[in-house]
């Protein structure tokens, strides 16, 4: 048992310290027969900062998809804020999803809306009737450094700029849980580091952060809880970046997969 996972169960009776997210023996088999996840057990508490790491195809995105119920687990149970997801009625999904700020691996921007509309849309959906909409949208875009792209359309942006729009959209409604699937894949090291600093800040202010990433530098430097997935199973769950040291050996040996 890792440090992070082992430290808390004793406190689970205290409702304030009940995990925000918990997976109990969760498995996911896609309709085409691919078994993406097996027997996942995972508890994430409020204000946790969790890195999900693992090779390509390990199951990180699948785990994120289960979390926001984009997909339904085929076995086990998932709780978010005490609610069991697989038994949740379809009409209650919007409320669940509004708790999250999500950066999808493929961004999922509305192609026919401008950058500002993409961000504003998410704010309107999650907090209908919000005041100072425009200011909040502009602030959010300023944070990711896109204040001069406000009225551009997604296909007029570079890859990294699109990724930052996705990040701005996920942050704009100040969600209690921030989930990002490889949010720095198309960002240069400096910009990536800026984003990570930002996530550390919002985490410090109380937001739970779950981030699937391949960025070894970031994982190593930030030194937070790391959950490693391999072939659909959690193979490590550690509070600090031992991952990097092991990984270094692989990097130098440079094996073909």
């Amino acid at each position: 048992m890792s440090l992070a996972a082992a430290a808390r169960p004793a406190l689970a009776a205290d409702p304030a310290l009940r995990p925000v997210i918990s997976f109990h023996g969760v498995g996911k088999t896609y309709p085409n027969g691919t078994e993406a996840l097996h027997d996942i057990n995972l508890s994430i508490f409020q204000q946790d900062f969790v890195f999900l790491v693992g090779a390509s195809g390990a199951g990180k995105s699948s785990l994120v998809r289960l979390l926001i119920r984009e997909e339904v687990s085929t076995s086990g149970r998932i709780f978010v804020d005490g609610q069991e997801l697989s038994r949740m009625a379809r009409r209650r999904l919007p409320r669940l999803r509004r708790k999250f700020g999500i950066v999808f691996q493929d961004y999922k921007l509305l192609p026919r809306s401008t950058v500002a509309q993409n961000v504003a849309f998410a704010l309107q959906v999650t907090k209908p009737g919000q005041r100072h909409l425009r200011e909040k949208v502009e602030e959010s875009l300023w944070i990711v450094g896109l204040e001069d792209k406000v009225h551009k359309f997604p296909d007029e942006l570079s890859g990294g700029e699109q990724q930052r729009v996705a990040i701005a959209r996920a942050l704009v409604h100040r969600p209690p849980i921030f989930v990002a699937d490889e949010p720095t894949g198309n960002l240069d090291p400096d910009t990536s580091w800026g984003i990570v600093q930002l996530l550390l800040q919002i985490n410090h202010r109380g937001t739970t952060v779950v981030m699937a990433t391949h960025n070894r530098e970031v994982v190593d430097l930030v030194r937070r809880r790391v959950v490693a997935i391999e072939g659909g199973r959690i193979v490590r769950d550690e509070a600090q970046g031992q991952y990097l040291r092991e990984g270094d050996a692989t990097l130098v040996s440079g094996g073909n997969r």
Binding site: R91, L93, R95, R97, R112, V125, P128, G129
Partner: protein, 301 residues
């Protein structure tokens, strides 16, 4: 309250924006709908004209001549005449005496007046000519007339010819069946085509709908703009087809009337208003319902 207003505003803005940004697809759906509404409107007006024509033809055809015995008193004829006038099925009664009958016959038959002169006396009977409201009442009136004492006995009591009347009635029934059948087939077809075209249009936006849902939008939040967009399209389609029909109706009637002067057509403005109303209702209904069905299947995310 603010929430509701904000959502409504969003819905309206999105709908108009989507319509503009997707102008090609929107116009495609709108044009299809417009063409169909145009046809429906055209058929409605066409059947109306047909109805006018058939009603007039029926009125023309639904008259009966009751031959009277020679030498009955004018009083009893007047009696029968007023009795028939009181009958609700009869619209007009006209008395034709023996001289009128002879005049009519000589205008139709060659050398008849010469024959009459040779004959010395007029063998043709006086008659009462009745116009009925409905063709279907002819047999009953025929039976009734035959029971009266002053009416000629036997086969020739009236000029009612069941065979011809039957033919005419069959023709009318068939014309109606055709019109109604055409309307039903075309109506069904139009709904299917509209659904298909809207679904194709929505297919393009499938990804958008999914993204909206994943970000936390409710079904109605997603649906709203699409349905409103459908309604906008429907209204435009109805406006276009309505204008075309309204503009074409009067010239069509005038032209048909002047060329085919034996068709008793008239311009019926109030019916046109009804058609226009129907077109708008159909456009809005089809647009909204089509969009609703079109988006529904992508909302399951």
């Amino acid at each position: 309250m603010i929430t509701l207003l904000a959502t409504l505003r969003f819905t309206l803005v999105s709908a108009v924006q989507n319509f503009w940004r997707n102008l090609a697809v929107s116009l495609a759906a709108t044009c299809t709908m417009g063409a169909i509404l145009l046809f429906i409107g055209g058929i409605l007006l066409g059947t109306h004209m047909l109805n006018q024509m058939l009603t007039a033809e029926q009125a023309k055809a639904s008259n009966i001549k009751i031959y009277l015995e020679d030498g009955v008193s004018l009083g009893s004829i007047a009696n029968l005449q007023s009795e028939l006038r009181a009958d609700p099925r009869v619209s007009a009664v006209h008395f034709e005496n023996k001289d009128d009958a002879a005049k009519e016959a000589s205008s139709q038959v060659e050398n008849f007046s010469e024959s009459l002169k040779v004959l010395g006396s007029n063998p043709l009977p006086a008659s009462l000519n009745l116009d009925l409201h409905r063709l279907a009442d002819l047999p009953a009136i025929d039976t009734m007339a035959r029971r009266n004492a002053i009416v000629q006995r036997g086969n020739l009591a009236t000029d009612y010819n069941p065979a011809i009347i039957d033919k005419l009635q069959t023709l009318i029934t068939w014309a109606w069946r055709f019109a109604v059948g055409f309307l039903i087939v075309f109506g069904t077809l139009s709904v299917v085509i509209i659904m298909i075209s809207i679904r194709t249009a929505v297919l393009v936006r499938r990804r958008e709908v999914e993204i909206m849902k994943l970000v936390g939008a409710t079904d109605w939040f997603v649906r709203g703009p699409f349905i409103l967009e459908g309604v906008i399209g429907g209204v435009i389609a109805a406006a276009i087809s309505g204008t075309v029909i309204a503009a074409a109706y009067k010239p069509a009637v005038d032209h048909l009337r002047s060329t085919l002067f034996f068709f008793p057509l008239s311009y019926d403005g109030s019916y046109l208003a009804v058609v226009a109303l129907l077109l708008f209702a159909a456009g809005i209904g089809l647009g909204a319902f089509g969009s609703y069905l079109g988006v529904r299947r992508f909302l399951t995310v």
